[in-house]
Symmetry: C2
């Protein structure tokens, strides 16, 4: 019985293959690499029932993850986040079986922890001593902290106006933190140069093949939490799109293993109207997206004008009869408030975008009222303190609360 | 098979008993009330092994919780937070078996969610329509959001200088939020008046008997996660002390059930040097604490000058041969940084206080190097963005990272 059934890396563009012992980055053709597993062997040795008594972390799926030796696992207890029934909000938008997968309950408070846990663990296994990456905040926080736990040095470059909380997280981790007076693309250029100059491991989105395997576990968990029945629709707030690519990959692997019943769910890439390159490409039936100029949205996690893995995101949408939907910032803020008041959860704007999309897709008939729908909340609202503006009534010490008796 | 084996409420001071169908608050003698269970019946009907396949939330212990009907459970997936081995920090302070129970991975980002989940569920079961409470922030956030999920109205009063993030959480939940130009004690007076004026359910710390049952689950989980072996020491950052009281209660119940091996762990109440009434009382061998004047600490969660349940906290310390320890703010900040850099976790100052205490208690011989020690981190560092002050190097777009090659 192996801990991992990883077999090799392959390029989804040119079909080239690579060994998993090396520190591989992009394919020679420039495409991201993906991990393949010996699923026939998994099938022979493991059943879905074997998982039941395992610990509630993403490592319960270790056979389908790339880390070969358990002692290389770098874990802070990440994964098996709750899949919460949203009955009242569901009723409000006439979607009777609405669920939220809550990625706020994970180290560093966002789903980025999944990619970091698996990515850093594998980096440790293949002998990485120092990694580098640009970040808009949350990914850097996750990679910085997991790298610290692994004893791997990290260099992280972040725009000056990335959220202060994530800056503090990175700094506290002991990473070499630099701010740049520019955008994440400027940070990316500086990292690219440093990777060459100092021979670092490039942990930028999709430039190493293992982050996606961590994100994949969201798909594995949703399936297990629905008792290995596929939902009808999964909505995902899409910036770089790694989570969507990962969920698609996970569900195909589960299908091949025969662990899960039903057709693949229709996958939905949700973007902001102020930055919607995938939506535009999908509407035009294209296989790749174009750079979105002057992007702007309060949901900074999905402010990604051109994603390296855009073709894989679009593949996932076409393959599952899914769609792409853009929602405006105002709708996000409205849904964020509704989720708090109806369901008791303070979600992030990106997560709120998925609910705004559910509402619209139900209204226009794309989602049927009796379908099982899972919306991803990719982080806790706590990390976005400025989204909410309130002015409560101020009392003096000797005041009393006066109101009309009900 | 019952969902809950709750039997009645009792007063730990005057031994009076109360029915669990009523909306009870304090005992007629002024003491908090505690919940009793029919543990003989639990013993006959449930074994620890039965828990294995249950969902990873605190509701896996439903027989030992006060909610009688499962449909009254108001849950956001709280509980079964990770118990993380801290090998490097442990080695740094020569405590070989050091663990952190991470209460950052729970709805609203602090352990207050446990009390709110169980407290609000039971409030729903006994017909509460509106609750009220004063808060320094985190408890209000948790109760406001869980009450929203339960469809219970809430009135919450908070000092003006309580953290902005928690203010936003409460406001977003739709609670009736008031700020007071004063301290939590001033908020408490305003709530007390409103409770009388409008006949509200008083959800202040220990003024209803069920919050403690939620906090208790930390003790249940620690035991299960250590395979039903008691640790030697558990350290808890102590403000109101409900968690410590709850853990003590949980461990005694497990002992009576015969689910857990070993003696009760020594319980340690950790306080800030700037607000240490329990430490003073313990040092003087007293059974109750005195009001701590002009309290001040950056760990605002443990800035409680006089706790209603102080006598129960002190009971727990004396009963388990535990102790009380005060640490200064500077040590907290130092341990917070060490935890991030060595273990990859951004913890709150209150959590950091427990590690500062472990270090000191090891140095003075109270903790032995081979003992199993569990420190509670009561919340995520994300909720305390101002604890960390950093000034990273700023680059311009065309800059490169220059450093001495290693």
């Amino acid at each position: 019985m192996k801990y991992s059934y990883i077999s090799h890396l392959y390029c989804p563009k040119c079909d080239n293959t690579f060994d998993t012992k090396e520190q591989n980055q992009l394919c020679t053709c420039g495409s991201p690499l993906l991990v393949d597993y010996d699923l026939d062997e998994v099938k022979k040795n493991v059943t879905a029932d074997d998982l039941t008594s395992r610990e509630p972390t993403l490592w319960r799926y270790h056979e389908l993850l790339p880390v070969k030796e358990q002692f290389n696992v770098v874990s802070l207890g990440e994964g098996m986040t709750p899949l919460i029934p949203f009955r009242e909000l569901g009723s409000d938008m006439t979607v009777e079986n609405l669920y939220m997968k809550d990625e706020g309950l994970i180290p560093t408070g966002t789903f980025k922890a999944r990619g970091a846990a698996v990515g850093v663990s594998k980096a440790k296994e293949i002998g990485v001593k120092e990694l580098a990456m640009p970040t808009n905040g949350n990914a850097g926080a996750a990679w910085g902290l997991y790298a610290a736990r692994a004893g791997i040095e990290s260099t992280i470059v972040m725009p000056n106006d990335a959220p202060k909380i994530t800056r503090n997280e990175v700094a506290l981790s002991g990473a070499n933190l630099y701010l740049v007076n520019g955008l994440i693309s400027d940070a990316g250029k500086i990292v690219g140069k440093a990777v060459k100059d100092y021979n670092l491991y490039d942990a930028s989105t999709l430039k190493e093949p293992y982050r996606i395997e961590g994100k994949k576990t969201m798909g594995l968990e949703i399936s297990e939490q629905l008792n290995w029945e596929m939902p009808d629709v999964i909505l995902y707030p899409t910036g770089g799109g790694v989570g969507l690519i990962g969920i698609h990959k996970a569900l195909k692997e589960l299908k091949e293993l025969g662990w899960v019943k039903g057709e693949l769910p229709r996958l939905v890439a949700v973007q902001s109207a102020g930055c919607a390159p995938i939506v535009k490409a999908w509407e035009e039936g294209k296989r790749e997206s174009e750079f979105w100029k002057d992007s702007e949205t309060l949901a900074f996690g999905i402010n990604v004008p051109k994603a390296l893995g855009d073709f894989l995101v679009l593949d996932a949408l076409y393959d599952t009869d899914g769609c792409a939907a853009a929602v405006d910032d105002e709708s996000m803020v409205r849904e964020q408030e509704k989720v708090a008041q109806m369901e008791g959860n303070f979600i992030c704007p990106e997560g709120a975008a998925t609910f705004a999309a559910v509402r619209r897709l139900q209204e226009n008939g794309w989602i049927n009222p009796n379908e099982t729908v899972v919306a991803l909340n990719t982080g806790t609202g706590i990390k976005y303190p400025d989204t909410v503006q309130v002015e409560p009534e101020m009392l003096e010490k000797e005041d009393t609360i006066s109101r009309v008796e009900k």
